[in-house]
């Protein structure tokens, strides 16, 4: 019965071996998720140690009792009402606390009325998007398909102003594949779609995961703290190439993102003539 010790030891050394979160949570919400995780981890570790020690104790004393020559008799008991009540109510309290404690994280993450709409609007305004147009504040449409992520961004109008993202594809739209670029430091939103079967949009460092469901447009928001490249992969079985859906999410400051989008616009409208200079 030494295995609990081995298990604890393994958990203890795991973080330094890298057998732990791929990185610290890189988003404010992700940090709250991690906090919650650690809170549950502490509670469960205490319970784990407690119960395994209790088990070990009763086994050990039991074993002593069966030693030859030990005259101690078995404790004849059908149980104890008080104990039962105690070990029902105490865990119930702890569990209920855990349950209620996390509701607001979930609400903010998933329920549309609690999305940080204002911040998203402000960010769009800073980038010169006409936010009077009613509609959502998504900056890109991510369509998962077997086995890649196809991404559609809004384009620019003739005057070079960024247009809002429309539900239906527009001639001005810009496209990338497996390469999601969005502003860092502000909440950003994407619309998640699937072109064929179910997939799941997974940003491990940001602790974001949302299934892409055929037939639904699902808004997902997140906020990357740092300007850097993050992993993006698929977390819902979508066929033989499930593991191949490897992509990157590049978070960069608003203006750089805008610049990147402009370059994409140039690239996408390339007619090959500049090089020859007529």
């Amino acid at each position: 019965m030494f295995w609990p010790l081995a298990a604890l030891y393994l958990c203890w050394i795991a973080p330094e071996r890298g057998w732990w979160f791929p990185s610290e949570a890189m988003s404010p919400l992700g940090q709250r998720i991690d906090d919650l995780f650690y809170m549950i981890l502490i509670v469960t570790t205490v319970v784990f140690i407690g119960t395994q020690i209790a088990l070990g104790y009763v086994l050990w004393t039991g074993a002593r009792r069966t030693d030859p020559g030990n005259e101690e008799t078995t404790w004849f008991s059908h149980g104890s009402h008080n104990l039962e009540v105690m070990w029902t109510i105490v865990p119930a309290g702890i569990l209920l606390y855990i349950a209620l404690y996390q509701i607001d994280v979930w609400r903010e993450f998933r329920m549309r009325p609690y999305f940080p709409q204002e911040q998203m609007t402000a960010s769009l305004t800073r980038m010169g998007v006409d936010t009077d147009v009613p509609g959502d504040r998504a900056l890109a449409e991510v369509t998962a398909r077997q086995f890649e992520w196809r991404i559609r961004y809004p384009g620019f109008d003739e005057d070079g102003n960024l247009l809002p993202l429309m539900t239906d594809p527009q001639p001005t739209d810009l496209y990338t594949v497996n390469d999601l670029h969005l502003p860092a430091g502000v909440p950003v939103m994407i619309n998640l779609l699937s072109g064929d079967v179910q997939h799941s949009f997974f940003l491990p460092e940001l602790r974001v995961k949302q299934d892409a469901v055929p037939g639904l447009v699902i808004p997902v928001w997140f906020q990357a703290e740092k300007s850097q490249t993050y992993d993006l992969l698929c977390a819902e079985l979508c066929g033989w190439g499930h593991y191949k859906m490897k992509a990157q999410f590049v978070a960069e400051p608003e203006q750089e993102w805008l610049q990147w989008l402009r370059e994409l616009h140039e690239l996408q409208n390339e007619d090959g003539v500049e090089e020859t200079d007529e």
Partner: protein, 605 residues
């Protein structure tokens, strides 16, 4: 520490002579028998064989994770082309069929089918099930299922949409190699299993309600019977939903005019086929599937909980701690089990408001589980535990179930689940409850009731070796999965190392695969012990463990009809080490005031 091994009946063989009223012939006796014990043993042997099949498939999965794209020994050349390499679609088939075989052909039938059948009539003092023929059919309906599962391999390599078979992947034939005929076969097979379980469920409920021996009141029933009863109720309510969902999916897949679109929305283009025309909703399947499959995970656990309770009490020579709380908590688990299915769908895009209710109900389901754990520990507390293979397996059950229950709390916390959903954390969780708990419980139960089945005992030494190796292999294989999950390794990936942030997990996966191979080979010990002891094991008396239950009153093995006469029950099944009784056990049938320490015997003729 001392050990008792089962007492040996010096009048070996006398039990065998009873009850041979007539010789029904080989076919009636062994193949199409209506005797619940034969059916139970048929179930047991079939499921143990399937355990080997499922294990082999799992080793294929583990091979790929430890040695990605390297030629697989033994099985490689049989299935995969290109020099024994596992191809990605073959990998998806491997884990799909591993889960399918383990869940539908091993765990569910070994608990309800094998032990339910064998134990229910014996433990309640009935001569057979209420509907013996239905019972026989329930076994034989498993075979078409096995046949269809087998057949499915002939289509495009086998079904490969996971055991959860989410549409659209499982609905459109073009979506994956295994989504064609193979998926249809899979659905048909699952339906057969459903019918088989349903027949069992009806039978168990009727038998337990109607056929208890005189004096066997509800609260004198062993916890095994309670658990089987509750499981039967769960099955009766949950299964129809799965069956209906299965039919809906089959209809969606039919090419002809039926071609419904329950689960398929419009405008999907898969493998360059015509865009779909529909109006269906893939999430509907998830709701229906988990409405069955969450209760089903308790169908896969409750009977083991019941059996372990009985074994623990017997092996600790002590009454079960908190009999009634045990019963109530099982009932609570079953009740709550029906309102938590949404916890499998937190990231699915269902209405987020539902996420909160499902979170609260899910977290609360940990409570009855906790109560049970405390009671098991309480049962051993102050007893005189016998450290034999049965007891060790039962203790492992408790110890490992704790882990599975605790990891459940992480996943029940919705925000945390967002991160760990569909990672290896989930895989760790359900292996701790299904393998760590249920299967260890089953190993104990095989060892414990084997003497009753065959009149011979299994070797305790091999049993212990099997236990130790399996236990080490199990933890070596599955504990690190928690860490993989936290490290963000998604499940069902043929090659996680394609992603740089997972590359460093390869050595750990190799260690796990080695543990898994060790564990796989340890199962040959079980097989050997089982088969060898069937023929050459030591003969034993009616009550080799000095246990209290009714089954130990009948001869070993019991004849057709079980008891020489109708047993009469005078007390509950857990009166071990009763201070008013000189023996440390007190048969349920022993009349009060009878000679203290009277030898076990059948009720007066």
């Amino acid at each position: 520490m001392s050990t008792i091994s089962p007492t040996v009946d010096t009048h070996a063989g006398h039990g065998d002579d009873h009850g041979h009223h007539h010789d029904p012939g080989f076919v009636r006796k062994y193949l199409f028998s209506t005797d619940h014990k034969v059916i139970g043993i048929q179930f047991l042997i079939t499921t143990l064989l399937m355990l080997m099949v499922g294990g082999a498939l799992a080793l294929g999965v583990r091979w790929q994770l430890a040695f990605p794209w390297e030629s697989m020994p033994f099985f490689g050349p049989l299935f995969a082309s290109q020099g024994g390499q596992i191809s990605p679609e073959f990998y998806t088939m491997l884990f799909t069929m591993h889960a399918t075989v383990m869940i539908f052909l091993v765990i569910i039938p070994i608990l309800a089918g094998a032990f339910g059948n064998f134990l229910i009539p014996l433990m309640i003092g009935a001569d057979d099930m209420a509907f013996p023929t239905l019972n026989m059919l329930s076994y034989w309906f498993m075979w078409p299922a096995i046949l269809f599962f087998g057949l499915s391999f002939l289509f495009g390599g086998g079904p490969a949409a996971g055991w959860t078979s989410y549409p659209v992947l499982a609905a459109l034939a073009e979506a994956a190699p295994g989504s064609g005929g193979a998926q249809t076969c899979w659905l048909i097979a699952v339906t057969f299993i459903g019918v088989s379980s349903m027949m069992g469920s009806v039978n168990y409920m009727t038998t337990i309600i109607n056929m208890r021996a005189p004096g066997m009141t509800l609260f004198r029933m062993p916890l095994t019977i309670w658990s089987m009863f509750i499981t039967a109720i769960l099955q009766a309510f949950a299964l129809p939903v799965l069956t209906a969902a299965g039919f809906m999916l089959v209809f969606d897949r039919l090419p002809w005019s039926v071609h419904s679109t329950f689960f398929v929305p419009s405008g999907l283009v898969v493998n360059n086929a015509e865009p779909t025309v529909g109006g269906g909703q893939p999430l509907l399947w998830q709701h229906l599937f988990w409405f069955y499959s969450h209760p089903a995970v308790y169908i896969m656990l409750l009977p083991a909980m019941g059996m372990v309770s009985d074994m623990l009490a017997c092996m600790s020579r002590k009454p079960i701690f908190g009999y009634k709380p045990m019963v109530y908590s099982m009932a609570a688990i079953a009740g709550l089990g029906f309102i938590v299915w949404g916890h499998h769908m937190f990231t699915s895009g269902m209405n987020p408001a539902l996420g909160m209710t499902f979170m609260i109900s899910t977290i609360m389901i940990a409570l009855p589980s906790a109560v049970k754990v405390f009671n098991w520990i309480g049962t051993i507390w102050g007893g005189r535990p016998q450290f034999n293979a049965v007891f060790l397996n039962c203790v492992a059950f408790v110890s490992l179930f704790i882990v599975g229950g605790l990891s459940g709390i992480f996943m029940a916390a919705v925000p945390v689940d967002i991160y760990i959903h569909d990672t290896y954390f989930i895989v760790a969780h359900f292996h701790y409850v299904l393998f760590g708990a249920t299967l260890f419980g089953v190993f104990g139960a095989i060892q414990f009731w084997f003497p009753k089945m065959f009149g011979r005992t299994m070797s305790d030494t091999i049993g212990k070796w099997h236990f130790v190796l399996t236990f080490i292999g199990f933890n070596g294989t599955f504990f690190p999965m928690h860490l993989l999950g936290v490290a963000g390794m998604p499940r069902r990936y043929a090659d996680p190392y394609l992603h740089p942030y997972l590359e460093h997990l390869l050595p750990m996966n190799q260690l796990m695969t080695i543990s898994a191979i060790l564990m796989g080979f340890a199962q040959f010990l079980l097989l050997f012990n089982f088969l060898y002891s069937m023929r050459f094991g030591e003969k034993c008396s009616r009550n080799p463990w000095n246990a209290n239950g009714l089954e130990w009153v009948a001869p070993s093995p019991p004849p057709h009809g079980n008891f020489e006469s109708v047993p009469v029950v005078y007390r509950g099944p857990y009166e071990y080490s009763h201070p008013d009784h000189s023996d440390d056990y007190w048969l349920q049938t022993e009349p009060p005031g009878a000679q203290p320490g009277a030898k076990p015997q059948a009720a007066p003729a």
